[in-house]
Symmetry: C2
Amino acid sequence: MAEYSIGVDLGGTNLRAAAISAGGVVLDKTSGSTKLSEGRDAVIGDIVNSIEALKRGRPQDSLAGVGIGVPGFILIEKGIIVGSNNLPEFEGFPVRDAIEARLGTRVILENDANAAAMGEKWIGAGRDVDHLVLLTLGTGIGGGIILNGRVVHGYVGMAGEIGHMTVDPNGNPCGCGNFGCLEKHASATAVEAMAQMLHLGEGVTSKDVYEMAMAGNEKAKMIFEAMGRALGVALANLVNIFNFPLYLLSGGMLPAWEFFAPTMIEETRKRSFTYRNAATRIDKAVLGNEAGLFGAAYLPLQANSSVL
Amino acid sequence: MAEYSIGVDLGGTNLRAAAISAGGVVLDKTSGSTKLSEGRDAVIGDIVNSIEALKRGRPQDSLAGVGIGVPGFILIEKGIIVGSNNLPEFEGFPVRDAIEARLGTRVILENDANAAAMGEKWIGAGRDVDHLVLLTLGTGIGGGIILNGRVVHGYVGMAGEIGHMTVDPNGNPCGCGNFGCLEKHASATAVEAMAQMLHLGEGVTSKDVYEMAMAGNEKAKMIFEAMGRALGVALANLVNIFNFPLYLLSGGMLPAWEFFAPTMIEETRKRSFTYRNAATRIDKAVLGNEAGLFGAAYLPLQANSSVL
């Protein structure tokens, strides 16, 4: 019986890892920066070193495995990143196998939003439900879908790209080729673009816009209202498609909840018969940045469990 | 070991039932009209009589059970229809329990689009895949989602309401309270409304519009192009959310495929990175009206199987 697992959160900026017990207690953790400028092998080396450090002093057979959350499109069975804006050097590279070979330990590669959704399901805001969707509101918008306690991967592992849901067919252009993607209307990037449109100042960040809204600036408030409406269109679609009991929001934009939530809920209510007629909760995630680390650690524990 | 199962398709107009072997062969079938004007009890009586007729002469213990597909929102565990435009008299009535009590046989109630999706998965266009989405293009638009060979029901059974996905936040008003629902832009009803807008004649049906398009009428063709674009927005969203290998279309509008498919595929391609980068098929369903009957019959067979 495994006693602990190691979760890794490999971001474009930070590399974090933690040893977490099967009961969800953090035993030890490490963090550093992702040294992309030193090349892919250096980053792989840092990942392996972090994991080795966390393994030290613990019995080999008590480790369930290693889960690694990474930003981008993942081919789940192959353990390959096929597309990642934040980790371009890793595209097409067999990340999982490279790390497995050096560690001699089972490794599971997962999309970071999926890992965060799994973390919230395991010991976060979703621990009492079997099904949930998580949206991560950051520079972009990621999505993770949990059905019957497991990540929905789809055919090759690219499911859950909710940030690219069309919320307005004639909306803002997106790098993915679409117009009106959710993430072009409701991410930090979208908030900053709207701030520019409304002449709120050069180089204004989403945090600045939040502070302006806190200070009563009406234009800043309008921006979050627009963000909330876009989220509402997407959430209504998700509620109509999934009829899940819980939809969670997380990420850097979460503090602005009070400014975007009213229009978000209003829009969801208006657009979804199911929302109005079946118990459905739209709420804040609770694990913050830790969700992905917990979720990544949980994946090997889940994979080894015959109960789940 | 069950040798056969009975599927029932209870529509607002027609009541059909079939005895189908575990191998998917139709052993016997009955059909009649749904006598809504004679009241709910008369319809229940007709359903029970159809099933009894199909059971006659077959050994009691070889029947796996009865599956009934019905239009509307279903509370799956309770076996209750909570909302149905076509069967208003059945709303809130314990249909499943009433029929089970009279038959002494296990009954499973299912949404008709979910049943059709299951039928296509079992012995139709989806028999070679594990995951698919089916859209039924009729007076309205229904949806059924199959993941790992099973219907996705969501929390209470209301999942798959894809006809109410927003394809244009400022689009046509829908009875569900939303604006721009897929079914208000891509159903037979939507085609007829567009024909009226384009002055194609009083009381023109979707079939008339199809025939006009066949005869080269440019306005009729434009209508199907608009229908295809709306479907493309919805399909791109589904592909981005699910990353399934197969999306099937069925229903009365299917013959117009040649007129709506080009813009549908163009729009899906433009709007979905996943569609362009992962093997994804959008295709015609093959079982037609029989899909729901097959799928309904399959449900008790699947429920009794320990393999699936």
